[in-house]
Symmetry: C2
Subunit: 387 residues, 2 copies
């Protein structure tokens, strides 16, 4: 099994791209990644595209081939494959690219993620996103994602120490980070009062506890580590790639306040990388809702259950803290084009490790990305390090 | 890179399963494959599921996790990933499973395909399937898949020697084979007159030139070749796994009568396996329409362009011929649950190599599977051999 490195990254601005099509979003991100990596389209052996629901958002399936075509890769008939795991689609696309290079079957591989969510109305968006949950037992009963995560939040707050203000601080901190991120959908600071006074979506979650509907695409280029220096002076090595699944429906879980797939994928990643928690300099976690960031920090093992709210309040997870979480602004402020998010996390970690993160730069040599599908039925965790 | 072998296969009956759900179709096929392989669910490291459009057919995304859950794999948090490439989704799922095992990242992996197409009406089915073509330039202009393949047929018949009767013989031959296949959707013989007198769908293609709408699922278990004998006395080795893409829209092709991605994937597969055409004992090709089988035989290099009609008429591709094609009955008679078809092809080749194909058994040591997405924007070719 070969070691794998990231040699280039690219990302569109995240936001509401009314005048850009699904396919063009990808082309922009892909071109930025190829330029950053210093490779041409003809050199690409294969492409993996993470996308959740283009079938419903833009009535288009067969995304891998479409993207390869519009990226100009059809002429050399490069292999192109879409992978889907709801909001973890991007993370899984990266994992497939890593696997393809590790296996020796491919050499220069692009992993990308793309979602165009604003071509349908909000109601259709919410219903499409509900396809990430159990349609027969959750969706048909009327459950939406804010509703499902509200159940997690209620259960958590009943059992552990977490104040409404601590929960709001997750969003405040992520908006603080997003201010420094040129691709972020929201680049303005908010206060705890902004969150507490925003409209109630699903008790206790309010509008500013929720990640937005977003269009966007991101792409990264991976190669065998032994070839990385041909392309760049600052390759970033993939130290671990771990994936785990859990029941698709929340009601089938052992414990709805703990995402067991996060626990499993996190443990596997630390074991693969032979690292301990104190080795990790920053983490991008899947904060689709504020409560999700709280759970993720704990379930990845960075603190005990029930302590993440306090850590957040104390600034431990802020830019200047001991464990910066979601320096990109996270899903909350950077935006959440569901299929692209997992790749954007890799994009952020790579920028941080290369020292290119501008106003949000932290002292970073090793970073972790945590990408979740649904309410935790799929979790993928990557650890990346400078070399 | 490790060698990979298939140790078990399973498939549901293909047909209109009004009383079975999407998830239960998979469970049936998966259970048959595990039983055949002699492995238990707890031993499974990872799962790859090919599915084209559950988002639109059953309003469910996040298929990998759903399937892992309903297969009882959630408790050990096995990794589960959906891959999609329209009608080539199954073939790509198999390829991802092979890659995962070859890389050393996983050991015991299930590759599966599933599609439940009859939960929506025929119009919605046709529109959903059109999502495999270019929605912006083909779908919105009203193109359907019978229409696109009719253009291929017209172009082909204008340039090469192919009679309407030879084209019909593809369907007649595949129905002859389907009679012997217990999982086939159609198990009755037809005549050339049946095809010629059936209703016109898109000139020159008639109803009996077209594969049907089908529900079904198939699954296979792959392991490192070095471990295969732990599980079975008759492992089947993966000799090649090749994939290629092309433009998503037909009008962008160099030549619409030749599927260049089939040419590319076929050449890559022969090169990987270090085999020549005469080494191949049987082929499962992607006969979504009769013209597609004609093109596939030629584009894979088994004869020159323009000769496959004559070969078919002469019985070369029939069960008793020199190159049996679609012994399973093909997509035409066995049925075409789009995400499952690529895995069913592997299922058929494995059964043939193991000598378990009953009335459709041919002399088989090496077989090829050819799975197409859309009008050829994705093609995946596998070669399997006894060992």
């Amino acid at each position: 099994m070969r070691d794998v490195a990231v040699i280039g990254v690219g990302c569109t601005e995240f936001g509401e791209h009314w005048s850009t099509s699904f396919r063009n979003l990808f082309v922009e991100a892909g071109a930025l990644a190829l330029e950053d990596a210093g490779v041409t389209g003809e050199q690409i052996d294969a492409l993996y595209v993470g996308n959740m629901s283009a079938g419903r958002f833009v009535e288009q399936e067969h995304i891998g081939a479409l993207i390869a075509d519009y990226a100009g890769l059809a002429s050399n008939h490069a292999a192109s494959t879409r992978v889907e795991a709801a909001c973890a689609s991007g993370g899984l696309a990266f994992r497939q690219a890593v696997t393809a290079v590790a296996s020796g079957m491919e050499d220069i591989v692009v992993a990308a993620g793309v979602e165009k969510m604003t071509d349908v109305g909000t109601g259709a968006s919410v219903d499409t996103l509900a396809g990430a949950a159990d349609r027969e037992w959750e969706g048909f009963a009327g459950a939406t994602f804010p509703g499902l995560y509200a159940m997690i939040a209620n259960n958590y707050m009943h059992r552990y120490s977490l104040t409404r203000e601590q929960l709001a601080q997750v969003a405040v901190k992520n908006h603080d980070n997003g201010v420094h991120n040129p691709i972020a959908q929201f680049r303005q600071r908010i206060t705890i009062d902004t969150v507490l006074n925003s409209s109630l979506v699903a008790d206790p979650l309010r509008l500013f506890d929720c990640s937005p509907i977003t269009d966007g695409a991101a792409a990264v280029v991976v190669v065998p580590l032994e070839r990385a220096r041909e392309f760049t002076d600052s390759p970033v090595r993939v130290l671990a790639s771990a994936q785990a699944s859990d029941t698709i429906a929340l009601h089938d879980r052992r414990d709805i306040s703990t995402l067991d797939a996060t626990v499993a994928a996190g443990r596997r990643a630390f074991a693969q990388a032979k690292l301990k928690h104190s080795d990790i300099d920053l983490v991008e976690v899947h904060d689709c809702f504020t409560i999700a960031e709280i759970c993720a920090i704990e379930d990845l093992g960075f603190c005990a259950k029930g302590e993440a709210g306090k850590l957040t309040e104390e600034g431990v997870t802020a830019l200047g803290g001991a464990l910066p979480v979601n320096t990109s602004g996270g899903l909350k402020a950077c935006g959440h084009p569901v299929g692209a998010t997992g790749i954007k996390q890799i994009y952020e970690i790579v920028q941080q490790i290369r020292g290119e993160a501008g106003g949000r730069q932290v002292d970073a040599n090793i970073g972790m990305a945590h990408n979740v599908g649904g309410t935790g039925a799929t979790v993928v965790v990557h650890i990346l390090g400078g070399c």
